[in-house]
Symmetry: C2
């Protein structure tokens, strides 16, 4: 995949990416010469640009327009020309830390708040998932009566998150029922992954609830659903209103909105394959082709094998040098807050 491009061509490509990201106008040879301080003439640059176009790294909207980086050009830029050791300024770091300090500690809320803060900061759309691990299980169940016929089944996942599901029974609950149900669930269903739980096991649990266990089936079912969903991260999407600011054209906007509506797809594309920040171009997405759009994503690590992801959806012509460090710092802080490593106080409201 490495392409033999001489040094000057690289500088030209980098310059075009930079100039294009400024105002979204195709870059002509004149402007480019200006950018290089007229050290070379526009004619020379025209030759270089023609060569880059032949290589497929640049393209022309039409004959008499300037050049625009192609998808392939962006890919090359991102893979080869982008400085990966980008750092955030101290003041920006402090601002981010301050934003996190004001968030609630709960993992669900934290993911959502972080997504919103990053969306506000960047002006793009941000997705964050709650953390999960490969073999997520339930550490503890609790059952609470929430109505005469209804019981809430609560589960604490290995990640420290709490999830709820409500079960409706055919008869009135009596005092003590909730405790007994919780105890049975804790005996049979904790510290097991969903795959380990068989139908007979569920039956055994139902039996353990006594009084003709079948009547408690809704509770078992709720608990089992919680277990199955424990490993499924929740997705929070914030800053959807920002699309209008960066979406290139009508057609793409439509696809983008549909993409946002498809939670599974969002989750899939935001989950990073590698440790590093991943940049996915909209042209490269099979199901949702969105030229002009890109998705940055970064894994965050919350300790104990728990990982989540946070990603930014924005224009291909975004200022990567500024946005990537922000994303990475947010991922770092998110991981730290989730694993409780930081001095992360409760929000003091009043």
């Amino acid at each position: 995949m490495q392409m033999p491009i001489d040094d000057r061509k690289q500088r030209v490509l980098r310059a075009i990416v930079s100039l294009y990201s400024d105002d979204g106008e195709p870059v002509g040879s004149g402007l480019l010469a200006e950018h290089f301080g007229r050290a070379v003439s526009s004619a020379t640059l025209r030759n270089e640009m023609a060569a880059l176009t032949k290589l497929g790294l640049l393209e022309q909207p039409h004959t008499s327009a300037g050049r625009v980086p192609s998808a392939k050009g962006y890919r090359y830029y991102i893979d080869n020309l982008l400085d990966t050791s980008l750092k955030l300024s101290e003041s920006e770091k402090r601002a981010a830390e301050q934003a996190f300090r004001e968030m609630d500690y709960d993992p669900e809320r934290l993911a959502q708040s972080a997504a919103r803060a990053l969306a506000d900061w960047t002006g793009y759309t941000v997705v964050a998932t709650t953390p999960k691990s490969e073999d997520m299980c339930i550490a503890h169940f609790e059952v609470m009566q929430v109505g005469r016929y209804t019981a809430a089944v609560l589960a604490v996942t290995g990640a420290g998150g709490v999830r709820t599901r409500t079960a409706k029974l055919d008869f009135e609950l009596r005092p003590g029922d909730a405790e007994r149900l919780a105890q049975t669930l804790n005996e049979h269903l904790t510290f097991r992954s969903a795959a380990d739980v068989s139908q007979p096991l569920l039956h055994a649990a139902a039996e353990g609830m006594g009084a003709g266990g079948a009547v408690f089936y809704p509770v078992i079912s709720a608990a089992y659903t919680l277990l199955k969903e424990a490993g499924r991260p929740n997705v929070y999407l914030e800053g959807q209103q920002n699309v209008l600011g960066y979406s290139p054209q009508e057609e793409c906007l439509r696809t983008l909105m549909e993409f946002f509506g498809d939670e599974e797809a969002v989750k899939r594309f935001i989950s990073p394959k590698s440790e590093r920040t991943t940049v996915l171009l909209g042209d490269e997405m099979p199901e949702y082709r969105m030229p002009g759009v890109c998705i940055l994503s970064k894994r965050y690590v919350a300790g104990g094998g728990l990982t989540g992801a946070i990603g930014i959806v924005g224009p291909t012509r975004m200022r990567y040098r500024e946005v990537i460090p922000r994303l990475e710092y947010f991922a770092l802080l998110l991981g730290q807050c989730m694993s409780g490593k930081t001095e992360h106080g409760q929000r003091q409201e009043e």
Copy 2:
């Protein structure tokens, strides 16, 4: 506000609203005559239309275009010409019931699922709030250890909803701590509205936790926050991607997206002032002026003084006669499911 409009003018206005809702094109006198089966000539209708225009109920995009109902015209139509006893067909009712049967019972999830189902059904954007009552209080607290230093505080609201908040402590929790904390919270903070809870009371609760109560302050704080937020309904917004299908123009789209991003405003405008279905026109909204957009909202009643709201955001030129019955039936079913009046089974997954 009653306007003296003779019978034929009413029929003309109704016809124009109907024809305009079909394809969004301004309605001319010719088309209108056709619609009336040529019982009257286009010239007569032109006179009527001119009169309605003078009354401000119709407007012309430009001289040689047809007429379009003005905001005032729509207001008149909705208040005076819309049959309020619109009913859904049996098959549509059954489809709606089926959709509800597949939803989870939990109030939060139920609100969200209902919003999504209605959004899919209508092709517009739907907002649903979780139910609340005026003096919402907490029926029961529970505390669960979710990490070495962290405890989840759970609260069951009077509505039967479960909410969570996580507290981080400065020291390691010991076995039995959680139970003691829960007991103290239940003693001091249940069945009280947020207004009844004073600072001294919180101190008393902290004392009740023993061992120099102050160290448990994060737990108290979390519980107090839950109490304060118990009466605050959550808002679920679904079908945001549908905006492109009904938003009239670029400018309005922008306002609409900003509106969707402002959760408080959405909540405010969706909360109905009356028992009946409310229709709010985008032109009538002070903060977010959105000509061409309207918001339908309907209260739902979940029993025990609990009310929530469900609303549809769509184009002013929507088919009210079809959409309103759907909204009302959804509100009815939502209330029934929340109050547990129906045979609402748990979802059987496998």
